[in-house]
């Protein structure tokens, strides 16, 4: 018999990929399993992650997770991601102090799943999320723009975006005839209006 020679590989939930990713952190996987029942699997990859795997899971999302769902204390990797990237955070109450400025709180699973479903199906200014990754723009073209995907997820709310990213998103909106523009909600935060 031919014997497999190579070592074991990481679970798929921790493998790198560019698909639109929802990182669901839990001790038992139950929220991830339940969420998978509610959303269209063609539109987002659910990464069912244990607390000790958060850093690996977040690094696997290229370039960053579209959404992180969690409860209880936030791992350092979540805080770092929240600082560096426009990732939307949905956190079960009580939200830890360090995430209160960034996370959207929920109490019940139905609130969570409704919010995720709406974010995936949202159309903003003629733009909608494409299957798997990217955005279908008003001119029918499909573009890869993770920061714009994040802003669509957060709409009508906003997300922190650095100046170079703001410029590239604004250029993309203009080039493809989007019926919205980027507006500043405060010095750090922008939204689509």
């Amino acid at each position: 018999m031919v014997v497999a020679s190579a070592g074991r590989v990481r679970p798929g939930a921790l493998q790198p990929g560019t698909a639109r990713s929802i990182v669901v952190i839990s001790d038992d996987g139950e929220p991830a399993v339940a969420l998978r029942e509610r959303i269209d699997p063609h539109f987002a990859l659910i990464r069912d992650v244990r607390p000790g795997e958060v850093g690996v899971a977040i690094r696997a999302c290229r370039p960053f997770p579209w959404l992180i769902i969690g409860a209880g204390a936030a791992a350092a990797a979540v805080l770092r991601t929240a600082t560096l990237h426009p990732t939307l955070l949905l956190w079960r109450r009580p939200v830890p102090v360090e995430l209160r400025e960034r996370a959207i709180a929920f109490d019940r699973f139905i609130e969570l799943s409704d919010r995720v479903e709406r974010a995936l199906a949202r159309e903003v200014g003629g733009m909608r999320l494409a299957v798997g990754e990217g955005i279908v723009m008003p001119d029918g073209r499909c573009v890869s723009a993770p920061r714009l995907e994040a802003l669509i997820a957060a709409h009508p709310g906003g997300l922190a975006l650095k100046a170079p990213s703001r410029r590239s998103v604004a250029t993309l909106l203009g080039r493809h005839g989007a019926e919205v523009r980027l507006v500043s909600l405060d010095p750090a935060t922008v939204a689509l209006r």
């Binding site: 018999m1 493998q15 399993v33 063609h42 494409a130």
Partner: protein, 227 residues
């Protein structure tokens, strides 16, 4: 070129494995059977250049396997890493259990689940629905050909088959040859005025999309829309 699509079958029960292999052979797929996870991993490893199954059918519980060095979870993780475009169906008698579902999807986040208690006929029927995929005016036949239904014209290439059976998902191609084949398929669709077109996501990623107004036969349409 006609290249029959491969199907990986991991099933520890010899009789069931034979039954599934016969079914796929009858449908002109090339079945790659394995009774243990280590055998399945070695099939994938030892033929990694030539073997790219379009579908993997995996029994979650391998208690009858001749060896238990590896688990179905290992095979799923490997499929997720090395063959991300391979459709995966995992069947188990405990598929309703939250921990089982969680473990399967941790190993392979895109796996489709099937209840083993529904019997083999149900599994085969499910597999057939996946593989005999109809998208708009296209249909896959015999695992190796895409048929344009209104004209009965055939397009023989495994990448075209892959795009149809993965509809609406994005498929990542792995060579310039495959990319050229998909471009030819896009041209073929346009030439036939198909209700389906190829959409490029860049970086060798493609998917099929239904179009509201099919092109007239021969009309040149932009099959590849990309920023």
């Amino acid at each position: 070129m006609r290249a029959n699509a491969e199907v990986l079958i991991l099933e520890d029960d010899a009789e069931t494995l034979d039954e599934l292999k016969r079914h796929f052979e009858a449908k002109r797929f090339h079945p790659l059977g394995a009774r243990s996870a280590s055998r399945a991993v070695s099939v994938l490893e030892n033929n990694s250049q030539s073997t790219r199954p379009v579908l993997a059918v995996v029994d979650w519980d391998l208690s009858k396997a001749p060896d238990n060095q590896w688990s179905s979870s290992d095979v799923l993780a490997r499929l997720a890493r090395d063959l991300s475009d391979c459709l995966v169906i995992v069947y188990s008698a405990n598929i309703d259990s939250f921990p089982v579902r969680s473990e399967i999807h941790r190993a392979h986040p895109r796996a489709w689940l099937h209840d083993k208690r529904d019997g083999h006929a149900s599994l085969i029927s499910r597999v057939d629905r996946v593989l005999d995929q109809t998208v708009g005016d296209l249909r896959v036949h015999d695992g190796s050909v895409v048929i344009h239904i209104p004209t009965s014209d055939e397009h023989h290439h495994r990448e075209a088959v892959r795009l149809v059976v993965h509809f609406p998902d994005v498929v990542t191609l792995h060579s310039d040859t495959a990319t050229k084949a998909v471009r030819r398929f896009g041209d073929w669709l346009a030439k036939h005025g198909s209700s389906v077109r190829v959409v490029s996501h860049g970086n060798r990623k493609y998917r099929l999309e239904l179009v509201e107004r099919p092109a007239s036969p021969g009309e040149r349409v932009p099959s590849f829309a990309n920023a």
